[in-house]
């Protein structure tokens, strides 16, 4: 038997549930959130201070004097400065980001061509993304950093560790970024392609003037996410002996038997990544508002 909507409804249904909304609204909400933040923070600080090894951790990791010395470095004791080490990280990822943007786009483009003549290139591009998305970046760094010098191939084998690090980062992240681009290109509705081709635009012009401008817009947030993780992965180049922030902190730790340098290096990395993280979130939020407004 069909049940009619409204047939079983009592005259005045109960709408009160166990949970109450609007308990914390307006100023009460501000007070409540401040209070809960203070309590949580206080608990964390208390644990930090009251833990049996609290004093030792504060001395070995958060020692203001040691932090300052490790930041500045001390040539007389053979201590590299973490402050200047981070600059190596900065130029490494600046160079890598530019290279990755270009190489990633080329790989994505090659993978999306349809011409029969380009088949071998398409195959190689697919192989490339499969391989370098699958190998841990640390291994790529070892293979490039120790392999290229061993080849004894002129200037290709006599570069600094930082350069080999950049090569490894570029090789690996280009594979990731190519896939990000490809997802962006695929997200552009097919009707855009049809409309552009119907106007008599060539496939190259269609890609450049119609598809890519739309794809790049959707791709910016995931691209920035990859950049954030690449900024951090510059630390792995320390394994080749490049004196960047992490390596300088390691040297400090093994010379002075104090780990405060690690905290300094972490803070410096945060100073680099947080602005980019915030910016990415801002873009995502903006894009979301725009899309909601369009509906």
């Amino acid at each position: 038997m069909a049940v009619e909507a409204g047939a079983a409804t009592p005259e005045a249904p109960t709408l009160f549930g166990p949970r109450r909304r609007l308990l914390f609204a307006g100023r009460r909400a501000v007070v409540a959130s401040t209070l809960s933040s203070v309590v949580l923070l206080g608990a964390l600080v208390a644990v930090f201070y009251l833990a049996p090894g609290g004093a030792a951790v504060r001395y070995f990791f958060f020692n203001p004097h040691q932090m300052w010395v490790s930041f500045r470095g001390d040539p007389s004791k053979g201590l590299s400065s973490i402050g200047s080490g981070i600059l190596t990280n900065v130029w490494m990822f600046c160079v890598c980001e530019v290279l990755v943007l270009i190489i990633g786009l080329i790989i994505a483009w090659v993978r999306m061509t349809q011409s029969a003549v380009l088949f071998p290139f398409r195959f190689l591009a697919t192989l490339y993304t499969d391989i370098f998305r699958g190998i841990p970046i640390l291994l790529v760094i070892f293979i490039v950093g120790f392999g290229l010098p061993a080849l004894q191939l002129g200037s290709l084998s006599t570069q600094s560790p930082a350069v080999y690090g950049c090569m490894s980062l570029t090789i690996t992240y280009s594979a990731y970024v190519a896939e990000v681009y490809r997802a962006g290109i695929n997200s552009v509705p097919n009707g855009q392609l049809l409309a552009a081709r119907s106007l008599g635009l060539s496939s190259g012009t269609t890609m450049r003037r119609v598809i890519l401008p739309q794809a790049v817009r959707t791709v910016i947030p995931p691209l920035l996410n990859d950049f954030i993780s690449m900024q951090k992965d510059t630390a792995l180049v320390s394994t080749l002996g490049a004196i960047e922030a992490t390596r300088a902190a390691q040297i400090y730790a093994s010379t002075e038997f104090n780990f405060s340098g690690y905290v300094v290096a972490s803070l410096l990395f945060l100073a680099l990544t947080i602005p980019l993280t915030r910016f990415t979130d801002h873009l995502i939020a903006k894009d979301r508002t725009k899309r909601l407004a369009a509906q």
């Binding site: 509705p189 409309a195 635009l201 369009a294």
Partner: protein, 243 residues
């Protein structure tokens, strides 16, 4: 006859094992308006896409101004410059302003000077009463306005003919009128058009010829009078009763 612009000679098209078009023949003369009618899935859109080389045909031949489009020397990009196409879902480029949407083809496909094309584009926008929206982006426009811009965008290429694929089907009923009025206007001005449509009153009114497609086959074709009042086939009559 030399004034045949587009001729389909018993074309056929298959997707896998499904035959979408079979033995379809059709002439489109200069200044002629031909309306394609038929249920959804009858092959109207596929026919238009084949005419524009967006789909390749499996049999038969298509000629544009007497030249076979199956000739391997034919460059599809050059063919499409002479054939305007308007889609059900407008497909305006969302990252370009209304003006840039119109200017893109003439500048980047024909290599014409932007300044000279802009003047023409503004005249076209003037004609559809949207010249004050030239700098707006498409998402600021209503569906009817977007579709009129899409029509004008293909006109800016000065094509020999227009293919229109159910251009009012995605519109609110209240916005259909303004688009159909523009098409009437174009027809009166002598624009050659092949129109797939579900708007029977419009087809009756504007078409010189009406073609009824059913399951990829042309069942009947003739003047609007013949099709709408004196259809000889059962399938045509059944379709028209339901439409």
């Amino acid at each position: 006859m030399s004034n045949v612009v587009l001729r389909l000679s018993s074309i056929s098209k298959r997707f896998g094992s499904t035959t979408v078009l079979s033995d379809v023949s059709l002439d489109l003369h200069r200044h002629e308006v031909v309306c394609l009618i038929g249920a959804s899935g009858s092959g109207k859109s596929t026919l238009l896409r084949c005419a524009n080389l967006l789909e390749t045909i499996d049999g038969g031949d298509i000629t544009l101004f007497g030249q076979s489009l199956r000739d391997p020397r034919v460059d599809p990009d050059l063919v499409r410059r002479h054939i305007g196409m308007v889609f059900q879902s407008f497909n305006l480029f969302p990252h370009l302003s209304v003006l840039d949407n119109i200017v893109l083809g003439p500048v980047h496909a024909l290599g014409r000077k932007r300044a000279e094309v802009v003047d023409e584009a503004m005249a076209l926008l003037e004609r559809i009463g949207l010249s004050d929206r030239a700098d707006d982006f498409p998402d600021r426009l209503s569906g009817g306005q977007q579709q009129r811009v899409a029509i004008v965008r293909s006109l800016a290429m000065q094509p020999a003919l227009l293919l229109l694929d159910e251009v009012t089907s995605a519109l609110d009923p209240t916005l259909v009128g303004e688009v159909l009025d523009l098409l009437r206007d174009l027809a009166a001005g002598g624009t050659t058009m092949l129109i797939a449509t579900h708007e029977m009153a419009f087809a009756k009114d504007v078409a010189h010829q009406v073609v009824f497609l059913n399951q990829g086959v042309i069942v009947e074709q003739g003047t609007p009078e013949q099709i709408f009042s004196h259809a000889t086939h059962e399938a045509t009559r059944t379709f028209l009763e339901r439409a």
